[in-house]
C-alpha cells in the first residue's frame, strides 16, 4: 500500500511543479524554491508529518521535505534551547541531502566530463 501511495502522492507533487513551470512560467530554480518554502509552511501548520505517515517516500523524496525537515530541526532545538535553538538546529535533520549532494558533486566532477 505504502508503495502505491508513495507513487501517487509523489506524482501529484510533481504535477503541481509542472503546472508552476508551464502555466506560471517559473524557472526550475523558482519552482524548487517555492516548493521548499511551501514545505516549511506546511510543516509549520503541522500538516507535513501526517503526509509522510501516509505516503512515505512520496512525501520525503520531493524537495518539499527539505523545508519540512529544516523546520523540524529548528523546532527540536528550540524546545531544548529556546529561540537560539531555531538558529542552531536548522541543519540537524536536513544535512544528509546537502552533504550527499556536495560529496557526490565533487566525486562527479572528478569522474565525469559533461557530455554536452
Amino acid at each position: 500500500m505504502i508503495f502505491f501511495w508513495a507513487f501517487v502522492v509523489g506524482g501529484i507533487i510533481c504535477v503541481i511543479g509542472q503546472i508552476l513551470m508551464d502555466v506560471f512560467k517559473l524557472t526550475p530554480a523558482h519552482t524548487l524554491t517555492t516548493f521548499v518554502v511551501f514545505g516549511a509552511i506546511l510543516d509549520g501548520l503541522g500538516l507535513y508529518e501526517p503526509l509522510i505517515d501516509f505516503a512515505g517516500a512520496g512525501a520525503t523524496v520531493p524537495i518539499t521535505s527539505f523545508g519540512n525537515s529544516l523546520v523540524h530541526g529548528a523546532m527540536a532545538e528550540a524546545e531544548e534551547h529556546g529561540l537560539i535553538g531555531v538558529v542552531t538546529g536548522m541543519f540537524e535533520v536536513t544535512s544528509s541531502g546537502i552533504s550527499a549532494a556536495i560529496i557526490f558533486g565533487v566525486i562527479g566532477a572528478l569522474l565525469f566530463k559533461p557530455k554536452g
Partner: protein, 151 residues
C-alpha cells in the same frame, strides 16, 4: 530514445500494480491480529497480554504487538492505510488511554515499521523461550532507543 519507451511501459505497469493493490484492500471489520504470549516464562508477559486483550476491541488497529519488563511496556500497532493521516493522533491517544487504564508509568508506543519488525522478533523469541530475563530487558531497551532516534 530507449528512455522514451521504457518510461511509459513502466508507468503503465506500476499503475496496474497500484490499482490492484487498492482493490485488494478490504474493509477492516476484523479484530487486530496479535500473539498471546506465554506467561509461563521466566519473564511475565501478563501485562502485555492484558493490553492486547484490551486493544482487541479497537477497530482502528489491524495488528498489535507488545512486550513488557517490570517497569515499562512497548506497544506497537498498525492501522489501515487510509487512516495513516491521523497516525500521530491515534498514537498519542492510545498511549494516554493505556497509561490511564493500566496505571503503568512508562508506556512507549511506536508505529515505526522497523520497531514493529524488531518487536515481532522479540515476541517470537519470548515464545521460543530463547531469551533470558536480562537479555529481554536489554533488547527492549535497545528497541525503545531505536524508536526514539530522530536522525
Amino acid at each position: 530514445m530507449i528512455i522514451k519507451k521504457v518510461i511509459p511501459i513502466s508507468m503503465i505497469l506500476f499503475f496496474l500494480i497500484g490499482c490492484q493493490a487498492t482493490s485488494m484492500e478490504q474493509p477492516n471489520d476484523e479484530e487486530p491480529s496479535y500473539t498471546k504470549l506465554s506467561t509461563q516464562n521466566e519473564f511475565d508477559q501478563q501485562l502485555s497480554n492484558q493490553v492486547k486483550e484490551y486493544l482487541k476491541d479497537n477497530k482502528d488497529l489491524t495488528s498489535v504487538q507488545a512486550v513488557n519488563d517490570e517497569e515499562k511496556i512497548l506497544i506497537t500497532f498498525e492501522i489501515p492505510h487510509m487512516k495513516r493521516f491521523k497516525l500521530a493522533d491515534i498514537r498519542k491517544e492510545l498511549k494516554k488511554d493505556i497509561k490511564e487504564k493500566f496505571q503503568i508509568k512508562k508506556v512507549e508506543v511506536s508505529t515505526d515499521q522497523k520497531v514493529i519488525l524488531e518487536l515481532d522478533k522479540l515476541e517470537e523469541e519470548i515464545q521460543d523461550k530463547s531469551v533470558n530475563k536480562n537479555e529481554l530487558k536489554k533488547e527492549l531497551k535497545r528497541i525503545i532507543k531505536l524508536s526514539k532516534k530522530q536522525t
